[in-house]
Subunit: 324 residues, 2 copies
């Protein structure tokens, strides 16, 4: 079984690769489990830091280059994870770049799956940024996407494509709408939600971090561990269980920024919380404050997707995995 | 003021052109009314049968040809009607053609509006085919699109783009989700809803027509007169009245196919109804039966869009305009 991860050099891509390699066998769309013989990580930079493994292939390439995409997709491919994206803040600032990567490259990827007749199980990293506007609203599985950013628009458009390509049998798709992932390791990035990780990660490392939104701001979060587990679960779910709607709002937990910093203090001491600067940023607020923080994700729970138990657990597991 | 109608040779495009030319002045997005100096009808075939008018320009071209599109959009353009499309049945049978015209040409059209900085008021003919699946459901303004056809998917994707391009100020967009238009003049076409017109139009002309769905099948319809009126109204509405959501489910009336044929009999006599053959067609049913027939279009009514009074009125106005 050959699996490709687009965006395989990102931290989620690498974490997912490790999880897949850890498994002897994996089920694809509910079929009997088979061993992974090849796992290709495709990204604009080479994925580094992974332990050597004969099954692992690492490739540097541009997802916007049709010939590069064709070269990797024309070999028999059983499953595709599509995590490659221009993040929210960057897609808002550079409209053309966001459209090129988040929409046009994805269109081309799906077209290649169709024309090359690979019909892979395809797991797409969509986003809860497809919702926006009415802050007071609780998001249900039936809530219509009302994106207030170009990133959210591009994700919502892809969700529709995933359903249509799946309905026609070109792919066996699953689009997971990710909550804000916290706590991301590494450095702050251009995602407008980057601060949600920074305000915990940086103080734990003895560094200061800016919080660009008010303490009472609520966020909807999921840990790297749980999203990785959910990616693999999405791959394994049978298409019969999914039916015609291949788009799933992943579960998460709602918490306030203040509560996150409070839990930081409980775990790392009061001094750590003093490393958080509260400097409002109008651009970030203009996007983040349109993301609704309250979700009821009944369908995902019924399908067996997982969420974290608490903010404390999320912080503890970050410390355990990244700082020890 | 220069206005372009893409899809200007279709019957709705020509009807809209006549209505625009009839007006001395027209308001654009709520601004003071001005005279139309140029009205360009662009389509893959030349629009014929329109009375000569110095303001009217008729152009044959391929909307999928970027240079043809650029040539018409690089002249100062105040308003664009985008009615060009591959209809539902054809887009379902020829996936590539549907994607090329309904999605990629539209993407290119919007990109040209942006890069050429025309920022026109743009009225897009979307469709109630963005909804589908649960037949019993009533569609509200807040109902999420769940297209069960590639045509509906392409329309729903464009709706999202219209909102994002408008939010960013690249266009001042209005996407109208059209009910099934009845009674279309001319010949049956490849729209899966074509029969809704045929079962009235053909018998009125003494010809037989096939009804591929059961008599009790409900449909959601709007007349050519009312949709034309609504197109012009959409052009005139101020962007302030529309807010961030530029997508509008147009009003219509729900009726059964049996009721339509009954009204045909009332108006044209029992003999006319005998010209309707009831031959089920699995392909047409597989699409039409996913289109929900019950809508509550409160927002459109509040914004001043119009629907027909009755099936009888629709048939009478068809007779008056097309057969007398």
């Amino acid at each position: 079984m050959r699996i490709i991860i687009f965006g395989g050099a990102g931290f989620l891509g690498k974490k997912l690769a490790l999880e897949l390699l850890r498994r002897e066998k994996i089920s694809l769309g509910g079929k009997p489990a088979k061993p992974i013989t090849k796992l290709l990580l495709f990204d604009k930079t080479k994925a580094y830091g992974l332990p050597p493994d004969p099954r692992l292939e690492i490739l540097e390439g541009d997802i916007c280059d049709p010939s590069a995409l064709q070269a990797v997709l024309e070999k028999p491919t059983d499953a595709v994870f599509h995590l490659a994206a221009i993040v929210s803040g960057e897609a808002e600032k550079d409209f053309e770049l966001g459209m090129r990567v988040n929409l046009h490259a994805t269109l081309n990827l799906l077209e290649l799956c169709r024309t090359l007749q690979q019909n892979p199980v395809l797991v797409f990293a969509s986003s809860c940024a497809v919702f926006g506007g009415e802050l007071s609203e609780t998001i249900y599985d039936s809530t219509r996407p009302t994106p207030q950013s170009s990133y959210g628009t591009q994700k919502a458009m892809t969700d529709l494509l995933i359903n249509d390509y799946s309905r026609r049998g070109f792919i066996d798709g699953r689009a997971l709408r990710l909550p804000t992932i916290a706590i991301r390791p590494g450095k702050p990035n251009a995602a407008t939600s980057s601060f949600v990780s920074s305000i915990i990660r940086e103080p734990l490392a003895g560094k200061s971090a800016n919080c660009p939104v008010a303490p009472e701001t609520n966020v909807w979060i999921l840990s790297p561990n749980k999203v990785t587990e959910n990616f693999v679960h999405a791959l394994e779910l049978s298409s019969g269980d999914l039916g015609t709607n291949r788009v799933i709002n992943l579960p998460g937990i709602t918490t306030s920024v203040a509560e996150m910093v409070h839990q930081l203090g409980e775990i790392a001491g009061e001094e750590a919380t003093k490393l958080v600067d509260w400097q409002p940023d109008a651009f970030i607020q203009s996007i983040v404050l349109t993301w609704p923080p309250h979700f009821v994700t009944q369908r995902a729970m019924d399908l067996g997707f997982k969420k974290d138990a608490s903010v404390a657990e999320i912080i503890q597991s970050h410390i355990q995995e990244e700082l020890t």
